[in-house]
Amino acid sequence: MSSPGRADGDARDLAVRLTVNGRPVSGVAGAHLTLLRWLRDVAGVTDPKYGCGEGICGACTVLVDGEAVSSCLVLAAQVDGTEVVTAAGLCEPGGSLGALQRAFHEFHAAQCGFCTPGMLMAAAAMLADGRRRSRAQIRSELHGNLCRCTGYGPIVDAVEAALRAVRSDPDQPGPPAGAEAAAQ
């Protein structure tokens, strides 16, 4: 790839191969690119947003091998070979909204929308482990994602509803029924 203004650009370029939302993507780009910039500029996946660059706002949250990370604080090179899921990866195979996205829509959990892709991924990390959470625990686990519009109430409502839906839907991944009984 071309590197305008970089005399020795080639020496600092690097091939990275990722699976992004189920799709293999590879590209040669500057080794200094964060995962966020690599996703946006190399892979063309623009739902993760650049907010603060310090890991505080959560707008760039993605899952790397199932774990929530700030994609602005990890180099693409560091996670070469991993599986990355962004908010777009939460859609159904046909492209319609997934359960978590539908809950955000239903509860008006987005206003300007800038924080939404990160909020969805923070919620997706919660959904993935299937653990029961109180409203206070949901709030606490969302504390690394900032929203300047909604006042958070509708977001917590949406996550709560989505968690409840996953737990009552036998087709969704989650702990077996026995685990639920044991937890009560």
Binding site: R6, R12, T34, G55, S70, L75, A77, E141, H143, G144
Partner: protein
């Protein structure tokens, strides 16, 4: 976000990272979790020519292990905060470490951030250096050829300042296990969950028949390093649990700063309040600890 380009080197072993550090000198920075270095790079406060990645380095010298043996807990430098906070062996041997790790940043920071990274960065408000000073940890440090051990109190020298040589890396931290009759507590105050602590306090207390026999107390965020409070430790000796908090006088030997987060006077006030809470809680736990 539009950072200056740099070269990326992936070290397969920690010793290889030391070789690369010798080769590139001042131009190189080591990255593991990246939760301190990447903000500095993104904000333009650091501009390395070479970034040496140890996040995928293979296990060497226990760098990825958590183990408890012979009265000591050893935690590898590449152990993430999330793992340390959840690890049952660490929680059993020295619960103060996991409690401190659980208070760091947010879940994304804890998923990537590593013990070695936090210790080597040596931010005066960071949780793990405070916990390590309180428990009397020693860090195993190596340059690939020569290993040495540095006491936590002699490692955190000042703001982002440590005695690490240019080619040295932390391999692990070795911590005395919590003995019988000891209680622990970690207290911090920040304006919002996940913010840097305006002040923090940690305490270990051993009691017998309701009387404090031994105490280790330190504060963070109110000086250029974590500070052990010898005055407080001495004053606590012989106190009953009811007396403990009131034996905490003025917190001496600290030098809090005023900034946009809080005034120096408020930080000093917080330090005393948090020390009182920590010794009360550690004392309470010591009474219910196995003797």
């Amino acid at each position: 976000m539009f950072t200056r380009p740099f070269r990326y080197e992936r070290a397969e072993r920690l010793a290889e990272a030391s070789d690369l550090l010798r080769q590139h000198g001042e131009d190189a920075k080591v990255i593991a979790g990246g939760q301190s270095l990447m903000p500095l790079i993104n904000l333009g406060l650091a501009a390395p020519q070479v970034v040496i990645d140890i996040s995928r380095a293979e296990q060497s010298g226990g760098s990825r292990a958590i183990g408890s043996d012979d009265g000591y807990l050893t935690v590898g430098a590449l152990v993430t905060h999330a793992r340390l906070a959840a690890d049952p062996v660490a929680g059993q041997a020295q619960p103060l470490l996991g409690a401190a790790a659980a208070r760091i940043g947010n879940s994304r920071v804890r998923n990537r951030g590593t013990l070695g990274g936090s210790l080597a960065h040596s931010d005066p408000a960071a949780e793990l250096p405070l916990a390590m000073v309180t428990v009397g940890a020693e860090y195993e440090v190596s340059n690939g050829n020569r290993a040495r051990s540095v006491r936590a109190e002699e490692f955190h020298l000042g703001f982002l300042t440590t005695p690490l040589e240019a080619d040295e890396l932390i391999v692990s931290a070795r911590v005395p296990s919590l003995g019988p009759g000891w209680g622990w507590a970690f207290e911090e105050f920040s304006r919002r969950d996940g913010d840097f602590a305006l002040a923090a306090a940690a305490a270990l207390i051993r009691s017998s028949a309701g009387v404090i026999v031994e105490a280790r107390v330190a504060v963070g965020g109110v000086s250029d390093r974590p500070v052990r409070l010898a005055d407080v430790e001495i004053a606590l000796s012989g106190a009953t649990m009811r007396e403990a908090a009131d034996r905490v006088g003025a917190v001496r030997g600290i030098s809090p700063v005023s900034d946009t987060g809080a005034s120096a006077a408020y930080r000093a006030h917080l330090a005393r309040v948090l020390v009182r809470r920590a010794v009360t809680e550690a004392g309470r736990r010591s009474e219910t600890a196995d003797v």
